[in-house]
Amino acid sequence: MSIIYFLIGCSVLLALIFLGAFFWAQRHGQHDDLYTPSVRILLDDEPIEEDKK
């Protein structure tokens, strides 16, 4: 059962990595604007030719 020590160590380490990733994202402003990217992704870059009547 001493494998538990190792497994718990792994799980805590993994969780710490995620926590670090969150901190990194926070510091780099990834959570500053939570709305605009959701609109931006729907906009096409290529000009759509407007249908002439």
């Binding site: 969780a15 926590l19 926070q26 500053d32 604007d33 605009t36 609109v39 906009l43 000009p47 407007e50």
Partner: protein
């Protein structure tokens, strides 16, 4: 070139909306590609965009533009390096990065266009929109272009940046960085791990696995260290600070709870005596931080702290002795300098009029709704807006000592408010803490003579179980739910405490100009035919008079040639008789012109009748532009004391007497008078709410218990206040009042719930036999109950009050 649209076929007839902004086209401007525009400005924006291959702008949304009817302000001052320096975020010898606040951002087309600025100007390398903050971040090559041309480009496509001295929006973004999110992340991380490690303990650990128990315990304790030392440290600081000021607030029992939880956990684990309360400790801090996060609602696009600086221009044109003009930032304006103020520009400092025809609109400063004529040599106070031709002035006082600015030096602006009513949780937590300590010490002394260990255990258990976690959460969750409901109803509160303030109000003070009236030029209608010559005659008569109605008529016929008056006689309250070019002109009320009885006057229209050479010509009907939904004032009057304070002269007294008690209307009040009035009411023990819009109300808004700035466009300037109310939502004011009282009841209700949980827990705790499992279940359970109860009850209350 202006050209009216020829009706080529019926298809165009239907299209009377401007292709760019969607406004109704009163006068059509034909553009390229058979598009119709409401004004030249919109057409120009369209041609710029279509020539640059950006007509996609019009495909994402119908009529995405904002009307460009108005003349663009001048951005010359941006060429001054000193002024530009303050506005840019970062600059080196290659790039400049700048962030603009653009109120016109409102749809996905805006995002798309502003992020394709590169197509319009290749020197712009990068532009990113933050939609909620209505900001655009631009990086451009400063060797090819400059700040001035970038701003001019933005303006030319209809996105004029709002550049003001007080860049509030930027300050806000910096101000809100206090690691709360990081603390929540750490607390969540620890809470999750501790829960996982505590689980075996609850399920029971068999004898041969005892070594794990100690290992898990130590790990739990390790996770508790950051919880107490990092996440929960603010509670200790706040409790200590309050204790030093002899205040018992809710942070004290919370800090005590956290400390006791940690110490007992550490003791039990290190002494192999038990498993401790690590999970409760982590959960408590985690939930508390969540509550704190919920409470902090931010409106990125609104600012409640604006002062006169955001109203004033950034710079002003100064002419030197040689007649050369240059832009000078406001702070550098010196007494004796000659400044040039163009149409629609604001006079930033008290100054003497040197040249030009000054017609100054002081509505924002004094509340007087009509422009005032000033003669050469007269002192014009800062804050007035020139309407008409450009004028030249000589500064007599620096900006910081001008009339308007001095208002901000009043103590109401410097003192942090002490007169606020205590919130419910502030009041209750004082008694709560006392009772809690009494119970804790009571159980300590009860067991002490018999069983020392049990006494200590009961003492700590009481402090743990009665830790007012649910109580601390009930107010933030209820109030933030209320806040988001009010927000949907166009009523924006500065913070959650304002909801409670709203419930305690008993006196409401209204401002007049801009608050219950709205400015509008189209409120005057002429009935009857008037020849050009007659028009000239009437204009000339009215031009002599200072009466607001005469002023309105002059404004209506602005630009008419004025004739000399040979005789002039004004009967106050009735009308004017004057002789011009041997014509006898009478202008006045129905009674004055036609004689007989005054017919039953309609309260929302005033009539001005006209007679030339004893012959009746016709009349003007002037509609009072009151806001919609003012009936509420009558209904509010039954339960609240309602006052009207106006900087205006009392010429609308009669029209307003339908809404306000004539004895409670006060006119010709200066900003200082308004402030003093509010103070006076407060000294009589009343809780005063002030509703105003202009700078002239700023003092009163600040002094009042609850200052509401009313505005037609929430992105426009509004003075510092506790809440911003969209003009359209004014009619819902009584509902807002009732709703705020409901929310308070929800808080009371949730307090009772949390108290009953506490009582259940206490019954275990005082006996000294609190198992960690019960604590671990009770704490999250009460929290979840409180959160769901408050949000459901608040939304039900909103439904009952017919709020969206």
């Amino acid at each position: 070139m202006r050209s009216t649209l020829r009706m080529k076929d019926s298809r165009i007839l239907e299209k009377l909306h401007c292709y760019h902004c969607g406004n109704d086209c009163e006068e059509e401007f034909a553009g390229p590609d058979e598009k119709v525009f409401c004004c030249n400005g919109c057409r120009e924006v369209y041609s710029i965009l279509s020539q640059s291959g950006l007509s996609n702008y019009y495909t994402f949304n119908k009529h995405p533009g904002a009307t460009k009817d108005k003349l663009s302000p001048r951005f010359d001052y941006l060429k001054e390096p000193d002024i530009a320096k303050d506005l840019i975020d970062y600059a080196d010898d290659k790039f400049t990065i700048v962030t603009f606040y653009i109120p016109a951002i409102h749809c996905s087309s805006c995002i798309w266009l502003l992020e394709h600025l590169n197509k319009l100007d290749p020197a712009i390398h990068y532009s990113r929109v933050d939609f909620l903050r209505k900001q655009v971040n631009i990086r451009f090559d400063n060797n090819i272009t400059n700040l001035h041309s970038v701003v001019a480009l933005l303006d030319s496509i209809g996105y004029e940046p709002l550049i003001s001295l007080q860049d509030v929006i930027k300050k806000q973004t910096v101000g809100s960085k206090d690691n709360l999110v990081k603390k929540i992340a750490v607390a969540g991380f620890c809470f999750g791990n501790v829960m996982l490690l505590s689980f075996p303990e609850y399920l029971g650990i068999s004898h041969y696995e005892q070594s794990f128990r100690y290992f898990f315990g130590l790990l739990n304790l390790a996770f508790c260290v950051p919880i107490v030392a990092y996440c929960g440290i603010d509670y200790f600081r706040s409790a200590w600070a309050n204790l030093k000021n002899r205040i018992l607030n809710i942070d004290f029992p919370l800090a005590l709870g956290i400390a006791v939880l940690f110490l007992r956990t550490a003791f039990e684990i290190l002494s192999h005596n038990g498993s401790g309360f690590a999970d409760t400790c982590c959960g408590l801090v985690f939930f508390l931080l969540i509550g704190k996060f919920v409470q902090r609602k931010t409106y990125y696009h609104l600012s409640f702290e604006r002062d006169y600086r955001s109203f004033f221009p950034v710079a002003v044109q100064v002419t030197d002795e040689n007649g050369a003009e240059r832009s000078v930032s406001l702070a550098d304006i010196k007494v004796g300098q000659r400044i040039l103020i163009r149409n629609n520009e604001i006079i930033p400092a008290d100054a003497i009029l040197l040249k030009g025809d000054a017609r100054i609109d002081f509505s924002f400063v004094t509340g007087e709704s009509l422009p005032v004529n000033k003669v050469l040599g007269e002192v014009i106070y800062a804050g007035g807006r020139q309407t008409g031709e450009a004028i030249e002035l000589e500064v007599v006082k620096p900006v910081s000592q001008s009339y308007l600015t001095r208002l901000w030096n009043n103590e109401a602006f410097t003192l942090t408010r002490q007169n606020r009513t205590k919130t419910f949780s502030e009041t209750i937590s004082k008694y709560f803490t006392i009772v809690l300590l009494a119970v804790a010490f009571g159980s300590l002394f009860f067991w002490l003579p018999t069983d020392f260990h049990r006494a200590l255990s009961a003492f700590t258990a009481v402090l743990i179980i009665a830790c007012p976690c649910a109580l601390a959460l009930s107010t933030p969750f209820t109030m933030s739910a209320a806040l988001s409901i009010l927000d949907k109803n166009l009523f924006y509160l500065k913070n959650t405490a304002v909801v409670e303030q709203l419930a305690h109000i008993d006196t409401i003070v209204f401002d007049k100009t801009g608050t219950i009236t709205v400015a509008g030029a189209d409120r005057i209608i002429l009935h009857g035919d008037v020849t050009a010559y007659q028009k000239q005659l009437i204009y000339s008569v009215c031009a002599n008079s200072g009466h607001p109605l005469s002023r309105l008529i002059c404004q209506y016929w602005e630009g008419t040639q004025r004739l000399g008056t040979s005789s002039y006689f004004e009967t106050p309250g009735k009308g004017i008789t004057a002789t011009i070019d041997n014509h006898l002109v009478d202008v006045g009320s129905r009674l004055f012109i036609k004689g007989g009885f005054q017919s039953k006057s309609n309260t929302d229209t005033t009539e001005v009748h006209l007679r030339i050479d004893r012959q009746y010509i016709g009349f003007f009907s002037i509609k009072q532009q009151y806001r919609d939904g003012l009936e509420i004032i009558n209904s509010l009057g039954k339960t609240y004391n309602i006052y009207l304070l106006s900087g205006d002269h009392g010429h609308e007294r009669e029209a307003l007497s339908g809404m306000f008690n004539p004895d409670l209307m006060f006119f010709e009040k200066s900003p200082q008078d308004k402030l003093d009035f509010i103070k006076n009411q407060q000294e009589r023990g009343r809780k005063v709410m002030m509703i105003g819009d202009g700078l002239n109300d700023a003092g009163a808004l600040k002094q009042s218990d609850l200052g509401i700035a009313i505005t037609d466009n929430v992105n426009n300037f509004s003075p510092g206040s506790d809440a911003i109310l969209d003009g359209r939502a004014l009619s819902r004011l009584p509902q807002f009042f009732k709703f705020s009282k409901d929310t308070l009841r929800v808080v009371y209700g949730s307090f009772c719930i949390s108290l009953s949980y506490n009582l259940v827990g206490l019954s275990y705790a005082v006996s000294g036999k609190l198992s960690p499992l019960i604590a671990a279940i009770l704490m999250p359970l009460s929290t979840v109950t409180i959160i769901s109860f408050t949000s459901i009850a608040t939304h039900l209350a909103a439904k009952r009050r017919k709020l969206r």
